[in-house]
């Protein structure tokens, strides 16, 4: 009877072993996925910085144009 129990325990251990192998594969895949996501994030951040710079340029330009408009218009009226 003891022998029977040991046999069961042995089977369960083997089952655990194969489940752990599957888990390990899953975890490896997730780690790779994460690495890919991180490189996408890096690209996004670079793009974000570029967009911000461009936005500032446009805003500055806009501001200059607006001020010029105000400065010049009264003179032209005369």
């Amino acid at each position: 009877e003891l022998r029977e129990r040991i046999k069961q325990q042995e089977q369960e251990t083997c089952q655990h072993h194969s489940r752990l192998k599957i888990l390990q594969t899953n975890i490896r895949e997730m780690q790779q996925h994460h690495a890919v996501t991180m490189s996408k994030l890096a690209q996004l951040k670079r793009n974000h910085v570029k967009l911000e710079q461009k936005a500032i340029e446009v805003m500055v330009h806009q501001e200059i144009t607006r001020k010029q408009g105000f400065a010049i218009q009264p003179e032209e009226e005369q």
Binding site: Q9, H16, M30, V58, Q62
Partner: protein, 76 residues
């Protein structure tokens, strides 16, 4: 004989503990996978947002430049 029975009990306890932990790991792995999916979607959202912003900036830039083509010329 008693010793062996004790050992079998120990193994049993270890096996049950392992089984629990494996289940827990499984749940966490599923959770992480779902989270990765969500993060992927957020990334996609940001990419879309960025191309929208880029489009806006391009047309704003165009508008500002065409305003410059006005009587009060810019030599710079």
């Amino acid at each position: 004989f008693l010793d062996q029975a004790q050992k079998i009990n120990d193994w049993d306890r270890l096996l049950i503990g392992n089984a629990d932990k494996i289940l827990k790991l499984n749940t966490e792995v599923e959770e992480i996978k779902a989270n990765q999916q969500r993060l992927d979607n957020e990334l996609e959202f940001i990419i879309t947002q960025q191309s929208e912003l880029e489009g806006m900036l391009d047309s704003l830039e165009g508008a500002t430049q065409s305003q410059d083509m006005s009587p009060f010329d810019q030599h710079a």
